[in-house]
């Protein structure tokens, strides 16, 4: 099955049809997507600022990333589930949407650089992260921001 065929299948599945045919379905899922975004975005911002040593000074860099793990996973899961449901509303519309493709790439890049920053950070025994780890975590936050902006552009294109 090609990716395009998978999109066609999802769009014509019962879940895609249900969302498309309901008056408030899409809007309700969008609301969940937005609520989860508020929690995920602020969680990422707070843990990044902490890793950079800007807030929660005196705690080991990366500590808040660990402490916020539950909130991050829960909000990310809610975003992915609601995101897939929004996608199911019209997969073929999003399949050809450049902003949507860019958004997926940005999410992948953000997750990758974020993981990389912690890998580099934990290797050090310093009270402060090495500059490369800091750069990577800042890049990760920027890519998340880009994914958010791209998400808005998806609706405009």
């Amino acid at each position: 099955m090609t990716l395009l065929q998978a999109c066609e299948w999802l769009g014509s599945s019962w879940i895609g049809t249900l969302i498309r045919n309901s008056k408030w379905g899409f809007a309700l899922i969008e609301m969940v997507h937005l609520l989860a975004l508020a929690l995920l975005g602020s969680t990422l911002l707070v843990s990044t600022l902490q890793s950079l040593g800007i807030i929660f000074k005196g705690t080991a860099p990366g500590a808040l990333f660990r402490d916020l793990r539950r909130a991050r996973i829960a909000s990310l899961a809610a975003m992915i589930v609601s995101g897939i449901l929004l996608f199911a509303d019209g997969p073929l519309r999003y399949y050809g949407n450049a902003a949507f493709r860019v958004k997926l790439l940005l999410i992948g890049g953000a997750a990758l650089t974020g993981a990389l920053s912690h890998y580099m950070g934990y290797g050090s025994t310093q009270r402060e992260w090495p500059v490369w780890a800091k750069a990577a975590t800042l890049l990760s936050l920027t890519l998340w921001l880009g994914a958010g902006v791209a998400g808005r552009v998806v609706g405009v294109l």
């Binding site: 408030w24 937005l34 929690l39 602020s42 911002l45 405009v156």
Partner: protein, 163 residues
């Protein structure tokens, strides 16, 4: 036509209102920044509320979480209010009739009052005791109210476009 409705009509007809409304991308750009403001405000407030309720960041004291995050929330609020004003400006005549918008403003007001009462109570609690981990019941009630109100604000904000 009431005075408020007249004022909204006038606002939408001004150069700035018209410029935002008729531009290809300006409204979407402002909307995107508005959402970023919401993330900075509602998200950080939610983290503080969840800490007060003992659901998050329990290794850190309430005050250690509250102080830096409220600072971020205020900056986010400034961004949200400014962009929200611009969005309203361009559609004031229509939003006057929008039920979701009216309810949203009421909830925003309620969230503000709740925040104000919370701060007075919280400051009094701090002055009375240094044991911040024993969170007073009124602080917990305030946190639940705050979480509910902000969820309502975001939901209604999205509903505006559908009404």
């Amino acid at each position: 036509m009431t005075l408020l409705q007249y004022a909204c009509q006038w606002l939408a007809d001004t150069v700035i209102g018209t410029r935002i409304r008729e531009s290809d991308n300006l409204f979407s750009v402002i909307e995107t920044i508005h959402v970023l403001g919401i993330v900075l405000t509602a998200g950080t407030i939610a983290i503080v509320d969840l800490r007060i309720l003992g659901l998050l960041l329990n290794r850190h004291s309430v005050n250690a979480v509250l102080v830096p995050l409220v600072k971020i929330a205020w900056r986010g609020f400034a961004l949200m209010a400014l962009t929200g004003l611009l969005l309203f400006w361009s559609e004031a005549d229509k939003l006057y009739f929008n039920l979701a918008f009216r309810l949203k403003l009421l909830l925003l007001l309620a969230a503000g009052v709740n925040q104000w009462i919370f701060h007075m109570a919280y400051d009094a609690d701090i002055a009375a005791s240094s044991a911040l981990d024993a969170v007073a019941w009124r602080t917990r009630v305030s946190a639940i109210l705050s979480l509910s109100l902000w969820i309502g604000i975001i939901v209604l904000g999205r509903a505006i476009a559908y009404l």
